[in-house]
């Protein structure tokens, strides 16, 4: 423990120079802006900043990249809450609760709560990274395809929670999501599925789908109805944006749970921040005393996923710096950056270049503080800026969505995808088809499919692998219990109702 603290303070010594502090501050702001832009998320942010880091000292370069990475997680929530266009995938769930709050005139509050939750999540993840990284990583690798498959099933089962009133409609969009996810090359079999045009060989880009479904779909929906957001009067009084005691109390439990969940899902290679947000949301909804408030601006449903996606950032760095295994798109590009810096990622990284890694961790801690401060201070700016441009919002959102979709692959293909899903999103909203189960299926279905096939292949055709491994068995038992419990509680409820009648 003392060794760790000594190394960490060594890291702070490297980082606490004027040049580095300014750099980290800027990295946070840059990340926030990139994260807020639809289409550009952590991977794009890190990749685009990569050329800037050449020629910098390694520690500064890494601080810049991780600061941007963390910043995107803060930034994604801003456009989710303000204009219902998630800046990147981990911010989708934020829109489910944040945008309803915005429409009730509580957008500033939503931004405030989510900034604080993000900070707590990031901080918790960093604490785990500092003190337990090597141990946790050694355990995390023992989870294999069977456990991941079970985890994806838990995730998919949350479709029930996002389903809304009409089960038929939820099932239709779920199946649609499954089908959309099958496009492109299937690495398990080597076949390419449904590549009607060459661009589809890599599948339909998930981010283009959310840009269309949420961003353009929302514009189309509003164009028809002329909805005006309730933004209140111009207001620069801070007290209105700082969450009160009551709100913080409501947010505290979910934030802590989201932090823990996010860190551990982040550590697992192959899971990542997006899945962490889904699971965190589902958990809160299950635990909530008023689940009917979810989807209408529930603070718990906002705080927990936001905490979890920020916690997942340090979480995903753990396997990267201890084993050289990237757990997400963002860390995969970080891996490339480490190689370019001449630092060989792998088990020797901490031994050979520990000073650089500790400086990066120290920089990340600093970035998290800067990000909290700047994000809270900037809320009035964001809200008032939105008020200023509100009448022109449709064309601004369309402009950002089109350019955002273009930047995914530097071509028009993804703009077409976004437009198609914009129309689909509009039609879904208009007819009360829930988008949650669709998105969930698009994200989780291919993972579940592939992990299932890998599991069976590992067991050479036998299904027993799911119950022969302790963690997998635990997850199976857990799921069976949850299903039984919910059936029994429904029965009890019905009986009670019959009794009162």
């Amino acid at each position: 423990m003392l060794d760790t603290l000594a190394s960490l303070s060594g890291g702070f010594e490297t980082v606490l120079t004027f040049h580095n502090i300014v750099l980290i501050f800027l990295a946070g702001i840059i990340g926030t802006v990139i994260g807020a832009l639809p289409g550009l998320g952590p991977s794009a942010g890190i990749a685009l900043m990569l050329p800037l880091t050449f020629g910098m000292p390694h520690a500064s370069g890494l601080c810049l990249l991780t600061g941007v990475y963390m910043g995107t997680m803060y930034g994604g929530r801003i456009t989710s809450i303000l204009i219902n266009t998630p800046g990147d995938a981990p911010a989708i769930i934020t829109a489910l609760e944040g945008y309803p709050m915005m429409r009730q005139g509580k957008g500033g509050l939503a931004l405030g709560i989510s900034a604080i939750s993000s900070f707590v999540g990031g901080f918790f993840g960093l604490a785990v990274l500092v003190f337990f990284a090597p141990i946790v990583a050694e355990y995390a690798i023992f989870l294999g395809p069977p456990e991941y498959f079970m985890l994806m099933l838990v995730g998919l089962s949350t479709i029930v929670l996002l389903a809304g009133d009409d089960v038929f409609k939820a099932l239709i969009v779920t199946c649609f999501g499954f089908l959309v996810s099958t496009f492109g090359s299937d690495y398990i079999s080597g076949h390419i599925r449904f590549a009607f045009v060459p661009e589809l060989i890599e599948g339909i880009d998930f981010v283009a789908i959310i840009i269309g479904l949420y961003g353009l779909g929302e514009v189309f929906y509003n164009l028809e109805r002329k909805i005006v957001l309730n933004l209140g009067k111009p207001n620069f009084r801070f007290s209105d944006y700082i969450p009160g005691k009551e709100d913080l109390k409501q947010a505290s439990g979910p934030t802590v749970r989201g932090s823990v969940l996010g860190t551990f899902i982040g550590i697992l290679p192959g899971a990542g921040a997006t899945i962490a947000t889904f699971l965190a949301y589902a958990l809160e909804r299950k635990l909530s005393k008023n689940p009917e408030n979810f989807g209408k601006g529930a603070i718990a449903g906002l705080a927990s996923p936001e905490a979890s996606n920020n916690a997942a950032v340090p979480g995903s760095l753990i396997p990267l710096i201890t084993l050289g295994i990237p757990g997400s798109g963002g860390t995969a590009i970080m891996l490339g950056a480490l190689i370019m810096f001449g630092l060989q990622p792998g088990p020797l990284l901490m031994i050979q270049s520990g000073d650089v890694v500790w400086a990066m961790i120290a920089g990340l801690i600093l970035a998290n503080f800067f990000l909290l401060a700047s994000n809270v201070l900037l809320i009035p700016l964001f809200v008032n800026m939105l008020r200023l441009v509100q009448k022109h919002l449709p064309s601004i959102v369309v402009g950002l969505c089109i350019v955002g979709a273009f930047s995914l692959n530097y071509g028009t293909f993804n703009i077409w995808i976004a437009l198609i899903f914009g129309v689909i999103g509009y039609l879904m909203r208009k007819n009360d088809y829930p988008t949650g189960p669709f998105i969930l299926a698009v994200v989780l279905a291919p993972l579940a499919e592939n992990y299932f096939r890998q599991s069976i292949m590992l067991a050479q055709g036998s299904w027993s692998i799911f119950i022969n491994r302790p963690v997998s068995l635990t997850l199976v038992v857990f799921m069976v219990l949850v299903v039984c419990a919910s059936i029994i509680s429904k029965q009890l409820l019905r009986r009670r109702r019959v009794g009162t009648e």
Binding site: S43, A44, I46, A47, L48, L50, P51, I141, F142, G144, P145, S185, Y187, I188, S189, G190, H191, I192, A195, P198, E199, L200, I201, E202, P269, G270, P319, L323, G324, I325, P326, G327, A332, I333, G336, A337, I339, M340, G342, Q344, G346, P347, L348, L349, N409, Y410, G411, F413, N450, Q454, M457, L458, Q460
Partner: protein, 319 residues
Amino acid sequence: MTFVKLMKGALAGAVALSFAGVAQADDFPSRGIEFVAGYGPGGGHDTMLRAMAKIIQNNELSSVPINVVNKPGGSSAVALGYLNSHKGDGHFLMSATSSFLTTPLTSNIGLDYTNFTPIARLGIDPELLVVNASGSYKTLDDIAKADKVLNVGGSGTGSIENIVTIKLAEALGKKLNYIPFQGDGEVTAALLSNQIDFAITNTGPVGDFIKTGRFSALAISTEKRVDLFPDVPTFIEQGYNINLSLFRGVVAAGDIGDEEKAYLLKMVKDMSETKEWQENYIQPNSVVPDFLGPDEFAEYLKGMNDVYKTSLTNLGIIK
């Protein structure tokens, strides 16, 4: 100095002109050269081309500026289409790795490797057979004698790792159960936790684990031993005829003039001989430098294409 460069270029052009007798040649390159990456920023193709462009410009190996352009999409299908649309124009150079052969084979984009002009192979990524050092297999012999079907990890079905595994299974005369993973990281994790019996993987992700003794490499898929792993015997010297690696090279558009080809080749060859290239690209990426010129590279591509075609057909991926 630019003047001298220009003069040199013009001279070289003039000399080439007198041999080839093509009229357009003396003004090549007439504008900037575009390096086309088939994947987005930060990917393997992108980083290789950017490293090349930087070294070429630092050492003034080209008389014109070089611009790296990303044409991501469709596992390099988009870049192939883009390059093909500039047929006959030597101002484009594209990075080529296994997807250069496999994407045309597995999809119907109407192009294949023969539509392009090979310029050079810059290096290869050998495949290693790696076991967990705490496991019971210490040599290839142990693997041959194992009395159960072994689980082998590697990247996707139809990849070079998969093909090496198939060849090994044929050579050993025993069934191997190949499990495809998404990316090297997941293979490494699966081997660390003994979920697979051995892995076929390229050297980058496992190098450190071999150094620290957690993994041991039992064979390498090159013709001769490589400097990176002098102690690792080849498959060939252990009696298994497997010589298959991934390649990293560059190709130009189809039907370009001989001078254009010669110019690009000289630029790339000079680049590959700089110390910077060795230090900033070859070593950190654990690539084995193994330069091939246009004709040999074309021959090599033909051979590799046959290997992929046969294997993918046997796997039922292509008909």
